[in-house]
Subunit: 221 residues, 2 copies
């Protein structure tokens, strides 16, 4: 039917860009979660079909890499200071950014941040720790520890925990499990779970890691 065929000239619609594609994908992920990001839906948000995107990407993995790097670019550089202050700032801003884009944490556990913004983020981490003047090998260890702590904590934080809204049922299940008496220490501690805000817990744990790094200064192995 003629009515369905596009009128000549309407074809070249709008020039896209990787940035536009990435932005559309991020908006979708923010609104409906990472699993809602499909090439079809991203393309639809841009008013086109899925195959159009293959002009800007080689695969969906490319899109996820772009999204990850875009988020890395949203994490601001720390104001210059001592190593501890810089690491604190980086960690805090990473947590804030992750809260804005919860799906970032999932990506964090899935792919390496090798884009320009991701490398810049790594550079900042290493630069902060390097201020300590540790030998290179210890510096790597320290950065690994901080990075692992950040990634791991955000992961655990953003997982639907016992305090989740519809987790009422999950919390009841937990209570029932603990009531069996098989987990005495858990039982003792479980009341604290909800009492501690994630911000505070994140900062507290980070201090533990930083203390450990500071203790590595003299001539540790």
């Amino acid at each position: 039917m003629i009515w369905e065929r596009p009128e000549p000239g309407e074809r070249r619609a709008v020039r896209l860009s990787r940035e536009a594609v990435t932005a559309a994908a991020m908006a979708l992920a923010d609104a409906e979660g990472l699993e809602a990001v499909s090439l079809r839906r991203v393309a639809a948000a841009l008013g086109t079909g899925p195959m159009r995107l293959y002009g800007y990407l080689d695969s969906k993995d490319d899109l996820l890499d772009l999204m990850m790097d875009a988020v890395c670019g949203e994490i601001p550089p720390p104001p210059p200071g001592d190593w501890r202050g810089e690491l604190r700032a980086i960690a805090r801003d990473t947590q804030r950014t992750a809260r804005r884009h919860p799906w970032y944490v999932t990506l964090l556990g899935t792919r390496q941040p090798y884009g320009p913004n991701g490398l810049a983020y790594s550079e900042r981490l290493f630069a902060a720790v390097a201020r300590l003047g540790l030998p290179a090998r210890l510096t790597v260890h320290a950065v690994d520890a901080v990075r692992a702590y950040i990634a791991g904590f955000l992961q655990l934080e953003l997982l639907p925990g016992p305090e989740a809204e519809p987790g009422e049922e999950k919390l009841a299940y937990l209570a029932r499990s603990v009531a069996t008496g098989k987990y005495p220490t858990l039982a003792w501690i479980i009341a604290e779970f909800e009492a501690v805000g994630p911000e505070e817990a994140f900062a507290e744990g980070l201090e533990r890691v930083l203390d450990g790094i500071a203790a590595a200064r003299p001539g540790a192995p």
Copy 2:
């Protein structure tokens, strides 16, 4: 055609069990990765169709929960000792187990270990830290820090890093990026990346976290 229809009596083939289903799924994940685990393929490995599994599961998520808990059950309890030794043992055995089932790390970042084995694992973590005699709140923070470190490190370790086999290209890309001079600290440190074995790095970073916990003893905030 009659030939295709099963002869009566052949229907009730083999009684399955959640354990059997889980084992099949784990074998598949070990052999071909987590993304190869589909209800169709698991069912095929058991000589049946996908819908059969819904007698044992409500959804695929259930299967992933079962797999996660099964792995938690493979991590042995630490031999009794002081808090530091127990945490070290738990961390080491977690790393070993994760190496046997790399997909476990992915699940670790995706869902809570609320099964019986997962709770037992948590219990052991809390019990070890509880030996320190910290107030409940600090104990939670310390456990969070350790758990975050373990989860984060394994995540980063099992990501295909620059040392990956086909990563030759990725490594070249990294070298090119660093050669731009935009990442001076990265450039200084990058030679260390391959020099450090993951075992050693994991243990070293863990010591940093443990030092931090030990430092929290007196009367920290």
